[in-house]
């Protein structure tokens, strides 16, 4: 479990990135931080492993106040998937993953074996382990990033726009895989995204942030759709301009579904 209690952060240049933020990520569930660019999503995420320290407020991970935990120790106990992979360019793929297991005290042989298992788990050929990161596609690098976050067997995972840099097809594939892994592994996940579809696709609950770092609404996707708190949330979700509306149309006795722009996307099964 991760909790934020009245967390505030203003950077030295005067930018407020978190304003009285409170929410909870229940153990085993996925929460998305959703908001426009610059709202403070990354700042909140980086507070969880103490890459950023809050000005005030309390953050706990697994019931422990993280301000009492050594940052390096804390980071080793949390899986982190970075945007664009964040792999070390001079280390081979397998070593990139094994490195995190090594940091957690695994022997060299054990670390490599676990790294190999994680690469397989995220759907990468064993043969790719001996390559350097730049020899992989963006989607493959992202999978390595996920493998690296899993190899430490941490209960808590942070993901910062994990699939933002890959093309839409690969993104959907990676999202599906993440859901599958999540249902198998039951991690506690905090995810940053500015993509409404990604938030809906992966999260049990969504923290909607507005510019200036305040929480506009914290709710399930279902609640957000039925009861957006205000115009900002409705606009962000695409509820105001009909972008997210689906329509049922009758075509010769068949009920078909069209999206906000009138394109056919499916049919209704009674």
């Amino acid at each position: 479990m991760i909790t934020f209690e009245n967390v505030n952060k203003t950077y030295p240049n005067g930018t407020t990135a978190a304003l009285d933020v409170s929410f909870t990520v229940p153990a085993g569930s996925t929460v998305a931080l959703l908001g426009p660019s610059g709202a403070g999503k990354t700042t909140l995420l980086r507070m969880v492993n103490r890459l950023v320290d809050p000005d005030s407020g309390r953050i706990t991970v697994g019931d422990r106040d993280i301000s009492q935990i050594n940052p390096v120790t804390l980071r080793r106990s949390i899986g982190y998937v970075l945007q664009e992979g964040g792999l070390l360019p001079h280390k081979r793929v397998l070593d990139n993953v094994a490195l995190v297991a090594r940091l957690n005290g695994a022997s060299k042989a054990d670390a490599r074996e676990r790294a190999q298992r994680m690469l397989t788990l995220v759907g990468l050929d064993a043969e790719l382990g001996s390559r350097f990161p730049h020899q992989l596609s963006g989607g493959q690098q992202q999978r390595v990033g996920v493998a690296r976050a899993l190899v430490g067997e941490a209960d808590v995972m942070l993901m910062d726009e994990p699939f933002g840099a890959v093309d839409p097809m690969i993104r959907r594939e990676l999202q599906a895989q993440t859901r599958r892994l999540q249902s198998e592994l039951g991690k506690t996940v905090l995810l940053v995204t500015h993509d409404v579809d990604e938030a809906f696709s992966l999260a049990d609950q969504i923290v909607v942030l507005r510019t200036g770092g305040s929480v506009a609404q914290y709710a399930t996707p279902e609640e957000l759709l039925t009861n957006p708190a205000d115009d900002f949330v409705a606009d962000l979700l695409g509820l105001s301009d009909g972008a997210r509306d689906l329509h049922v149309v009758d075509r010769g006795g068949r009920a078909l579904v069209t999206d906000g722009s009138g394109r056919f996307i499916g049919r209704v099964r009674a």
């Binding site: 492993n49 390096v72 980071r75 080793r76 982190y80 970075l82 664009e84 964040g86 940091l103 976050a149």
Partner: protein, 217 residues
């Protein structure tokens, strides 16, 4: 052209290569002085530059120190050092170390400081300590730049170590000073040629080492 031919004839004479003042011995001295000077410069400048680069601060100070050291004329410094320390090898070594420090210091600082923040940030984010980031990420990625600094320091020292002969009976500079004194231009040219060839060979070795030190694309 005749002078050059005479110089080459002198170089081709095996007799000139042997003995305690022969070319082989002078070459060995020259390389030894260069190695000592470069090693001392690295010992002094590398930790400071690397540390400042790692902390991401003190860059202005580094550039200032390097610039100031670079502005000192080596011959003047050598003369001063010789006056203070007397005739011998210590004075030229001191003067040459001052010459070698700026390129090493600059390269150490900028090599470490310019490793992509996204890479060091990611290393920190997954739980590497500051020292691990330095040893396992910044140093390996900066190695080509660090070697580049050592390379240019070494080349400057090889060229300038001829001045060691000014205060001590050492190195390839002996031929140049002796040639100057006796108006023996072929000897002077032969000495200069030797220095040039040594510089080219060492530079080529560094080029190869730098190539192999690039750890990724």
């Amino acid at each position: 052209m005749d002078l050059l031919r005479e110089a080459l004839v002198w170089l081709a004479d095996g007799g000139n290569w042997a003995g305690p003042t022969g070319i082989t011995a002078r070459l060995g001295e020259h390389l030894m002085v260069t190695a000592i000077v470069v090693a001392l410069a690295c010992l002094l400048a590398m930790p400071i530059g690397v540390w400042a680069g790692h902390r991401g601060r003190g860059g202005d100070l580094i550039v200032g120190i390097a610039g100031a050291a670079r502005a000192l004329p080596t011959l003047g410094l050598l003369t001063l050092a010789a006056l203070a320390l007397g005739i011998g090898l210590v004075a030229p070594v001191v003067a040459l170390v001052v010459l070698a420090i700026p390129p090493v210091l600059n390269a150490a600082y900028s090599g470490i400081a310019t490793v992509q923040p996204s890479v060091t940030g990611a290393a920190r984010a997954v739980g590497m300590s500051s020292r691990q980031v330095l040893a396992q990420v910044q140093l390996p990625l900066a190695t080509p730049v660090l070697l580049g600094g050592v390379r240019s320091a070494t080349l400057q020292v090889i060229a300038t170590a001829t001045l060691a002969a000014y205060t001590s009976n050492t190195g390839l500079g002996r031929y140049i000073f002796a040639g100057l004194k006796a108006n023996d231009y072929p000897l002077l040219i032969a000495g200069s040629l030797l220095v040039v060839v040594v510089a080219l060979v060492v530079d080529a070795l560094f080029a190869v080492a730098q190539r192999f030190s690039v750890r990724h694309r």
